[in-house]
């Protein structure tokens, strides 16, 4: 079994990057008290998912899916399209989140979640 695992390690390194990004993102999301950092964490988390999709599409020796330059195996175009959409969604979410944060800061004068919690429940 050990050779197989080595094999996994070398051929599927992209998934390690995905898991790492997801982990870092989730950790920031949960642990950081700063709202902006939370939003950054959210972005990192989403980036992990984007990377997952894009590397999913990859095919060794595949050409870009543009039909003009001769045949051959292409990488799958579908995930690229999907992630293009998802990135747009992600950007809109970030924009809304930042707008909310601006409003929260204007009102409460803090971005710290714990301080906010106290103000919020008073």
């Amino acid at each position: 079994m050990i050779p197989l695992q080595l094999d996994l390690l070398t051929t599927h390194y992209n998934y390690y990057a995905v898991v790492l990004l997801l982990g870092i993102g989730l950790y920031m999301l949960v642990e950081s008290a700063n709202l902006v950092k939370k939003v950054i964490g959210m972005n990192v988390f989403q980036t992990g998912i984007f990377l997952f999709f894009i590397t999913l599409a990859y095919r060794t020796g595949g050409n870009p899916p543009v039909i003009t330059d001769g045949g051959g195996p292409y990488v799958s175009p579908l995930p690229h399209v999907l992630i293009l959409t998802a990135i747009v969604v992600g950007v809109s979410l970030t924009a809304v989140a930042l707008a909310l944060i601006v409003r929260i800061y204007a009102e409460y004068g803090t971005l710290d979640e714990d301080t906010l919690e106290q103000l919020y429940y008073d």
Partner: protein, 492 residues
Amino acid sequence: MIEHLPVLLVVLPIVGGTVPLVASLFTDRAGWPVATLTVFVHAVLAGLLGWTVWTEGVVSYAVGGFAAPYGIELVVDGLSASVVVLVGVVALGVLAYARHAGPHSNAFYSQYLLLVTGLTGMTVTGDVFNLYVFLEITGLAAYGLVASGREASSAVAALKYLIIGTVGASLYLLGVGYALAATGTLNMTDLADKLAAVGYDSTLVLTAFGLMVGGLTVKVALFPLHTWQPDAYANAPDSVSAFISALVSTVSAYALARLLFSVFTVEFLEAVPGARWALLTLASVSIVAGSALAVSQNSVQRMLAYSSVSQFGLVIAGFTVATPIAVVGATVHLLGHAVMKGGLFAASGVIERETGATTVGGYAGMAARAPVAAGSFAVLALAMVGVPPAVGFVGKWYIVVGAVEAGVWPVVAVLLASTLLTLAYFARLVERLYFAEPTIREEAAVADGGASVSTGMIAVVVVAAVLAVALTAAVPALEQVLEQTLPPLLNQ
């Protein structure tokens, strides 16, 4: 035109939604009329679509002429048609409430129409990625609407909602990735076949199930992923609370059912009892924990939010039991809950405006000062408890019968107990409304509340209360619609 109905339903509100923004150049009061016109046409079209599905069966539509499974397919069967009609009707009803209750800005109505778009899209789509996009559109609009409250606390609630909601949606997207890796397709019907071909014990399929369903339970707000909900409902303006409490979780629960039946199918649930029991356990825990949390709330709106956690446990349990009769029950409860909960939020808004009462203690003796709203509140609360012949009872009856048929006795026990649990938090409120001395002085209430109540607002509350009982009469028709489309879905 009839064949374009599904896509029209999605396009219409999003186009309508841009109008108030453009109109802002000239007037800041264009939002309501535009939204009303759009939603009215939307509701009529939804009714038409529902009628078509009833008479002719499933309607499917290939967007842009690209045939499934390569293009995006919109599929409307009995289940989605009922939800689309619900979206149309509730959206119209809430507009009648919002006309006076506000918010009044053009931007609000643009977001409102965007939310209608997202909800309709989620309902009619037959493509799992498309579902993600509409899920996020729904989310974005809902975050914006929650934040439209005057107080800054609404922004905090909205941000909390946004972060948790995004994580849920992202998990769902990740699940879509796994499904795509396993099968190479995104079309729901196609996925159902190919997932079966891959094998239900495949790690990829199981992970995809876990992530997609897990992501959606965040949006449905099952315990313990419900934490965004009470803040969001309690801090949003009344109109928004009524709207999102009635529809956002409802349509997410519909999406979950769609995943269960159209993507993973009942065979998957049978082949992987672990998945079924996990979901049943989650639902049962949600029923109990949601009620327990609701009992301990002091704020009425937060209590109503926790009540949703509990009621959606009931709905998801019905869907997961997955016998035809349980699915009918879950659908009835899904639709009925939307009307009841929306009505309860609207009623609590009216009571707050008329008397200034927002807490369980403050509700004492308020029936005398807000008789119509209090009466409707009591009717809706009893309907939610499941007092027959209200619609809350019918849904519960079907779900329990289904659960007995399936022989899942622990779930049967929880379902039956849910009546008493629901009673526990609603009875104390109704008791205070009618049989206690007021704790809020009349002058104080007028000085504090001061906001007036329009006939439209009262009418919405009363109509919701009447519907909560009258919908029972519509159940046979609904059952018939579902029967046409559910047997293939449930493989009977």
